[in-house]
C-alpha cells in the first residue's frame, strides 16, 4: 500500500478521512505537524515558518529565497516520513511535494459549500452564516492563489489527483473505503524498487536542504 496524500478545502472533512484511512491501514497520519518538524530543521519558530510559507502573494517576492528554503524543509520532513511508503498525509501541498514519485496515491476531497458552512455555524464555532461563508471563501481563495503562484496549477483541477471524491452524497466512512480500495491497487504497490526511490528522494531532499543552509 502506498503513501496517501489528501488534499481538500478547509472544513471539507480531510482530517477525519485521513485519520480513518490511517486507522484502517495501520499507518501514521501526519498533517500540519510536518510544519513543526520543518521549522526545527531550519531553526525558526513554527509560526515564522508557516507565516512566511503561506504569506499573501503580495509578500511573495520579498520572501522568495526564504520561502523556498522553508518549503524545502517541509518537503524534506515529508519525504522522511514517507521513506517507508507507509503514511497518510493531509497537510500542505502533498500532491506537489511528492509529485511524480511512485507509490504515492494523491486524493482530493471536495464538499459542498453548504456542508462546510454548517460546520462553522454549528454550536461549536457559533459563526454567523455570512461570516462562515466569507471565511470558507477567503481560505479557498488564498489557497487557490498560493497554489497558482507556487506551482502554476489550479488546486481544483482533478488531473492533479488520482482520485477526487465528492462528499456531497458520500459519507466520510465511504470516502475512506473508496480511497483504501484505490490504494490497494497494484499500481501503488510499494515494491523494493519503489521503496528505494522513496528513500533516495528523502536523501536528495536532505542534501538540497543542507546546501540551502538548513537541516
Amino acid at each position: 500500500m502506498p503513501i496517501i496524500t489528501i488534499s481538500r478545502g478547509t472544513l471539507s472533512g480531510g482530517q477525519r478521512t485521513a485519520e480513518c484511512l490511517a486507522g484502517a491501514l495501520g499507518y501514521p497520519c501526519v498533517g500540519r505537524e510536518i510544519l513543526q518538524e520543518a521549522a526545527r530543521k531550519v531553526g525558526v519558530p513554527v509560526e515564522d515558518l508557516s507565516g512566511k510559507l503561506e504569506a499573501r502573494p503580495s509578500l511573495f517576492a520579498r520572501l522568495t529565497q526564504e520561502r523556498k528554503r522553508y518549503l524545502l524543509a517541509v518537503q524534506t520532513a515529508l519525504a522522511e516520513h514517507g521513506a517507508t511508503g507507509r503514511l497518510v498525509y493531509h497537510g500542505l501541498a502533498g500532491q506537489f511535494l511528492l509529485r511524480d514519485l511512485p507509490g504515492v496515491l494523491t486524493a482530493r476531497l471536495i464538499a459542498p459549500l453548504e456542508m462546510r458552512v454548517r460546520t462553522l455555524t454549528s454550536s461549536h464555532h457559533r459563526m454567523t452564516r455570512k461570516a462562515a461563508e466569507e471565511f470558507v471563501h477567503n481560505v479557498d481563495e488564498e489557497r487557490r492563489r498560493w497554489v497558482k503562484l507556487m506551482y502554476g496549477a489550479d488546486v481544483e483541477d482533478p488531473s492533479l489527483y488520482d482520485l477526487t471524491v465528492n462528499l456531497e452524497s458520500i459519507s466520510l466512512e465511504t470516502a475512506c473505503v473508496i480511497i483504501a480500495e484505490a490504494a490497494a491497487q497494484p499500481q501503488y504497490e510499494v515494491t523494493d524498487d519503489v521503496k528505494k526511490r522513496l528513500e533516495d528522494f528523502a536523501t536528495a531532499c536532505r542534501e538540497q536542504l543542507l546546501q540551502a543552509g538548513g537541516g
Binding site: 482533478p158 488531473s159 465528492n166 456531497e168 458520500i170 473508496i178 480500495e181 491497487q185 497494484p186 499500481q187
Partner: protein, 272 residues
C-alpha cells in the same frame, strides 16, 4: 446496487471501464441506445436527433422547441432504463440528465492527453497532431453542449460523486474502485429510491408528452411526479383562449400512470 453513470472524454478509457463494470456486475450497458430509442419514438433519424440536440440555440422558437422535444425524448428513453435499476450508462450527459436522482453513482474518468492521443493513434491510425486536434475538437463540442444545455462545466468535479484519473490507475483498477463505491450504503437502492426512480420516469414521460403535443409544445414547464400525482410548474403565457391550463392537464392525464395533475403554473401576459 445503484445505476452507474460514466462520463468521459473521447479515448479516456471510460468505455473500457464501463464494459468492465457491466461484465463484473452483469448489468446491461447503455449508451447510444437511448438516442436511437428516442429517435425511433419520434420517427426521426438518429443523426437528425443528434444534430438537433447539439444545435446552438438561436432566438428562433421552432428550433428551441425542437431541441426541447429531442432532449425530452432522450431523457425519457434513459428514464425507462433507469427505472428498472441495475444499469451502466456511458452515453451523453448522464451526470446532468440524472442530476439530483438518488441511487445513481456518477463517475467521471479522465486521462492525460498523451495517453488519449496514443489510444486514438492506435485505434484509428492517426498521426499524433491530428489525433490531438481531434480530441480537443470533440472535448470542445461536448463541453459547449453541456454548458449550453445545463450551464455546467463538464470538467467540474462537483457534478460527479467521484473522478478517477487513469494516469496511474489502470482500467481494471478503476473498475474495481467504482464497484467498491457502488457497494457502499450511500448508494443503496432502497424501496424509497426505487419509488423516486419510477417517479422520475413518469415525470420524463409527461415532459415528453407536453413537448410533443401541438397545444403545449411551446411551453417550457417543470414536471415532478410523486406516485401517480404530477405537479406542473413554471411560467406560461395566458392566452386569450384561456384553455392552455386545460390542455396541459389533458395531455398529462393521457400519459400512462398519471392519476392526478396539479397545475402550479404562473400565468403571465404575453402582450403587456
Amino acid at each position: 446496487m445503484p445505476i452507474i453513470s460514466i462520463c468521459r472524454g473521447t479515448k479516456s478509457g471510460g468505455q473500457a471501464v464501463a464494459k468492465c463494470l457491466a461484465k463484473q456486475l452483469r448489468y446491461p450497458l447503455v449508451a447510444r441506445e437511448v438516442v436511437q430509442e428516442a429517435a425511433s419514438d419520434l420517427g426521426v433519424s438518429e443523426a437528425d436527433l443528434s444534430r438537433g440536440m447539439e444545435r446552438t440555440p438561436r432566438l428562433w422558437n421552432r428550433q428551441s422547441m425542437e431541441r426541447r422535444l429531442y432532449i425530452a425524448a432522450v431523457r425519457a428513453a434513459l428514464a425507462e432504463h433507469v427505472a428498472g435499476g441495475d444499469l451502466i450508462y456511458h452515453g451523453r450527459a448522464g451526470q446532468v440528465l440524472l442530476a439530483g436522482l438518488p441511487g445513481v453513482l456518477k463517475v467521471r474518468l479522465i486521462a492525460p492527453m498523451g495517453t488519449r492521443v496514443k489510444a486514438l493513434m492506435e485505434s484509428d491510425g492517426m498521426d499524433s497532431t491530428s489525433a490531438e486536434q481531434y480530441i480537443r475538437h470533440v472535448d470542445g463540442v461536448r463541453a459547449r453542449w453541456v454548458r449550453m444545455m445545463y450551464g455546467e462545466d463538464v470538467e467540474d468535479p462537483v457534478l460527479y460523486n467521484m473522478v478517477i484519473n487513469l494516469k496511474t490507475l489502470s482500467i481494471p483498477a478503476a473498475c474495481t474502485i467504482v464497484t467498491k463505491a457502488a457497494e457502499q450504503p450511500d448508494f443503496a437502492v432502497t424501496d424509497e429510491v426505487k419509488a423516486r426512480l419510477i417517479d422520475f420516469r413518469l415525470a420524463c414521460r409527461v415532459k415528453l408528452g407536453l413537448a410533443r403535443a401541438r397545444d403545449t409544445r411551446a411551453l417550457n414547464l417543470q414536471i415532478e411526479a410523486h406516485g401517480g400525482i404530477v405537479d406542473v410548474s413554471g411560467a406560461a403565457p395566458a392566452l386569450s383562449s384561456g384553455k392552455t391550463g386545460e390542455q396541459i392537464v389533458e395531455v398529462a392525464r393521457s400519459i400512462q400512470g398519471v392519476e392526478e395533475v396539479r397545475l402550479r403554473v404562473e400565468w403571465f401576459d404575453p402582450y403587456p
